[in-house]
């Protein structure tokens, strides 16, 4: 073999930027999200003067711990090119289920695994529908949404208070560092993000998730375990739904069957703003975390302004639109290179 093909130009210092852009075009949307987050935080600080305080920033994380957990699960699903609309109602169902079990005196070490298993079970159902019955993810997870919400109402029609000490401990304990503080719920959310990021980046399972999003057909022909992976992403999303149910119950001190109505859409918005392509194949768990923080910051700014929370959704909607257009442009550009 003498023919040597050299396609990669040896990076001179001048076009190192270009090499980076070409190699890592997929992080650009996430970088854009970080930029927007910084602009938002800086703008809020300038406007209100007391926005960037440790207490406020800590609350930013802790008030949205459940959203962060849901976003991690959703990232797996969306990167495969799927969607999971069930997460909000799964969270409500596991939350109310847990609260009612605790109220009837079942010990917490049974209740928590049952909550997680309940979420994973609905996820499995959706995954099996998608993979083995060829149901569109939108439809399968819509069925999951109705199922979860229905089951939540079956468990209880009204709110159930949680007075179980270990559950309350999750929210009421504060680990303080100076003026910063974090609760176990926040720590759990951050651990989930870390695990999610590692699994996506450093395991064969995670890479298969990306491969499926790139081309499911190719992934199958490459001998990757497509079926198992596709079911698993919904199981993970369901599991995250169950965990979010636990966090939300701890956060609010109660289970309530009407929690999380429309939350699935917030989660999808966060994930997309964080740079994950809705068509799959590109995205980062850490990007979704940035997306959640953007969402959280907007919510907080709106409440600082004392404006109607409806504005949150208008602004998030506008951002979402902007990001989808930006992503289209980036994808179109990288396609043109071929």
């Amino acid at each position: 073999m003498t023919a040597v093909v050299t396609e990669a130009p040896k990076a001179s210092s001048m076009d190192r930027m270009r090499t980076f852009a070409a190699r890592r075009a997929s992080v650009l949307p996430t970088l854009a999200a970080i930029a927007i987050l910084i602009v938002l935080l800086a703008g809020a600080q300038v406007e209100f003067g007391n926005f960037l305080t440790p207490g406020n920033l800590s609350a930013l994380l802790l008030d949205h711990a459940y959203l962060l957990v849901l976003a991690v699960g959703m990232t797996f699903v969306i990167v495969t090119g799927g969607i999971d609309l069930s997460v909000g109602s799964v969270m409500a169902f596991t939350g109310i289920l847990g609260a009612s079990m605790l109220a009837s005196g079942i010990p917490v070490w049974i209740v928590v695994p049952v909550m997680l298993a309940g979420g994973a079970a609905i996820g499995t159902l959706i995954g099996v529908l998608v993979q083995y019955f060829n149901v569109q993810p939108f439809i399968a997870s819509l069925a999951g949404l109705f199922l979860g919400r229905g089951l939540a109402y079956v468990v209880s029609l009204s709110s159930i208070r949680v007075e179980n000490p270990p559950i309350l401990w999750l929210q009421q304990t504060r680990f303080v560092m100076g003026s910063w503080y974090i609760t176990p719920t926040g720590i759990i959310a951050l651990i989930v993000v870390a695990i999610g990021a590692v699994v996506m980046a450093l395991t064969r399972f995670g890479r298969t998730v990306y491969a499926i999003g790139g081309s499911e057909q190719s992934a199958r022909l490459m001998g990757l375990s497509v079926a198992r992976t596709k079911v698993l992403v919904y199981v993970i999303s369901g599991l995250c739904g169950g965990l979010a149910g636990l966090l939300l119950t701890a956060y609010s001190g109660a289970g309530y069957p009407r929690y999380g109505i429309g939350t699935e859409l917030d989660v999808i918005a966060c994930v997309v703003i964080g740079g994950t392509l809705l068509t799959g194949g590109r995205g980062y768990v850490l990007g979704s975390m940035v997306g959640v923080f953007v969402f959280a910051t907007i919510t907080t700014i709106i409440s600082f302004m004392g404006a109607e929370q409806a504005w949150t959704h208008i602004i998030v909607g506008a951002l979402l639109l902007l990001f989808i257009v930006v992503q289209r442009a980036i994808v179109a550009r990288s396609d043109r290179q071929t």
Partner: protein, 514 residues
């Protein structure tokens, strides 16, 4: 049948039978693949080539017969099984993930892992090593999508080598490569052959088959015709074996080039300085009544881009187009269709057929769109059109109610041709109408084009196969590097002359102006 038995086959497929509802796709076919050989599997579309390959790669389960790999009987139930047995496949449409890096595509599913999970440095190091062993020096961290199809194909082969493939199946690997890229691919194939890999090669390009193969197996209608050494099988014999009839049809068309065209009148289509920045330098083109104008050039020379501008599929930013002497705005396909111009895209699957609809529905689509959706074609009108063209083009199977997706590529192409012809256009633009289809269908399509032109239809014909362009056109427009470099009379130039013109013409003029 000449089969030497000195080398023990690595793959022995005996009595392979696969039946689909209503069709016996393979009927007791034997196929043997020996280490260190390039073995071409030949046959028309529908002969059972793809089915045989899919049986060997575990996509289809076999209904009868045995598959032995390295003297061990195998029962494949998935592609992963076949890969585990050392059988890797590189498909026509590159089956890699364009969203991932080159290195990851090579190593996916086989990534070296450390304590913390995948060791990315090792992934890229190993990938670079595998690529280098095929003579490729790529930035393994660059996204696959940033490389040409040819490179992607070589990356796919590298991937097969990672799996330590003993058997490499190349299914139409060259259909979208230009000559230089084919040479590069062949160099890789030869080096793999030297390493003792058994290579199964499928291509519609006879030249390439003869260039690279050691042995040829011919299938026809799901049955084995024979296995031959290349030197024992002259081309005519191969074509005869493949289609089961003497193929004078292609040569019978050779008179088409001599047909004289009256170029005194107003051209049906006249383009002056039509171009688009970054896509095509401004070019002129006239097409007269009854004329078949061929567009020749390498892949990427601007052939498709030119006709897309003429048709309005892409918007030109320079020049003007007249249809029958009248200036016409071509900003959308609608404008072209209204003026009787039809365009059959090279991308049959994405821009041509609607796979789920029936053959009849696909045929009617164009006429119906032209009439507007409010004025539905009656069942009788539809049936008349469908019957006429099924017959005229010899669509197989002759059942217009089956979904078009189940037809072979050649027959799909015939249906598309019918769709445009049913609209009775005055100018028909055919972009690679014969790519990836079998010899018989190719002959049918060429004959139909020649016949229609003789009846007065104007045709713009693009094909990568220069013999074909030379055979059926009356004028040749040659493009290179997104620029029109000249026009040729096909009666005055032979294949070598045309190749030379495509490769060299214009270079001297340009250097003179410098």
């Amino acid at each position: 049948m000449t089969v030497d038995t000195d080398v023990r086959p690595l793959v022995s497929m005996r009595g392979i039978t696969i039946a689909f509802p209503g069709v016996l796709a393979l009927d007791g076919v034997d196929f043997f693949l020996r280490p260190g050989e390039v073995h071409s599997l030949m046959g028309e579309n529908g002969a059972g080539k793809s089915t045989l390959i899919k049986a060997l790669t575990g996509v289809y389960a076999i209904d009868a017969g045995t598959i032995e790999v390295a003297d061990e009987q195998r029962d494949f139930s998935s592609t992963a099984d076949a890969q585990a047995a050392g059988i890797s496949t590189v498909y026509q449409e590159v089956n890699l993930c364009a969203n991932l890096s080159v290195g990851e595509n090579v190593m996916l599913g086989h990534e070296p892992r450390g304590l913390l999970g995948i060791d990315w440095n090792a992934v890229h190091r190993d990938a670079a090593r595998h690529l280098a062993s095929l003579g490729l020096d790529l930035d393994t961290r660059s996204p696959l999508a940033s490389h040409s199809i040819a490179i992607q194909q070589l990356v796919a082969i590298s991937r097969a080598m990672v799996l330590d493939a003993k058997v490499l199946i190349l299914d139409e690997p060259t259909s979208s490569l230009d000559r230089g890229e084919v040479d590069q691919l062949f160099a890789v194939i030869r080096s793999l052959r030297e390493r003792g890999v058994a290579i199964l090669f499928v291509s519609h390009f006879l030249e390439q088959v003869y260039e690279i193969s050691d042995r040829i197996t011919v299938l026809r209608n799901g049955a084995l015709i024979g296995e031959y050494l290349v030197e024992d099988l002259p081309r005519e014999a191969l074509v005869t074996a493949m289609i089961g009839r003497e193929l004078d049809e292609l040569s019978a068309l050779s008179g088409a080039a001599e047909r004289t065209i009256d170029r005194a009148g107003t051209p049906v289509l006249s383009a002056e300085g039509v171009g688009r920045k970054g896509v095509l330098e401004p070019a002129d083109l006239d097409v007269f009544e009854g004329e078949v104008v061929g567009i020749a050039g390498l892949l990427g020379s601007g052939r498709t881009e030119l006709v897309r501008l003429l048709y309005g599929a892409d918007k030109a930013d320079a020049g003007q187009i007249s249809v029958a002497g009248e200036r016409a705005k071509m900003h959308a396909p609608r404008h072209a269709i209204d003026r009787g111009i039809a365009f059959s895209s090279e991308n049959r699957r994405a821009e041509g057929v609607v796979a789920e609809l029936s053959v009849a529905e696909n045929m009617i689509l164009g006429v119906q769109a032209q009439r507007g959706w409010m004025r539905r074609l009656s069942k009788t009108e539809q049936d008349a059109i469908v019957a006429e063209y099924m017959e005229a083009l010899g669509v197989r199977p002759a059942d217009p109610t089956v979904p078009i997706g189940t037809l072979s590529g050649g027959n799909q192409q015939k249906v598309l041709l019918a769709r445009w012809l049913a609209m009775q256009p005055r100018l028909l633009i055919l972009d690679e109408p014969t790519r990836g289809i079998d010899v018989g269908a190719k002959a049918d399509i060429q004959r139909k084009v020649a016949q229609l032109a003789a009846e007065g239809l104007s045709v713009v014909f693009i094909s990568s196969e220069l013999e074909e362009v030379l055979r059926i056109t009356q004028r040749l427009v040659v493009l290179r590097d997104r620029r029109k470099i000249g026009e040729l009379d096909p009666t005055e130039v032979d294949l070598d002359g045309l190749v030379d013109y495509i490769a060299n013409a214009g270079h001297t003029e340009r250097s003179a102006t410098r």
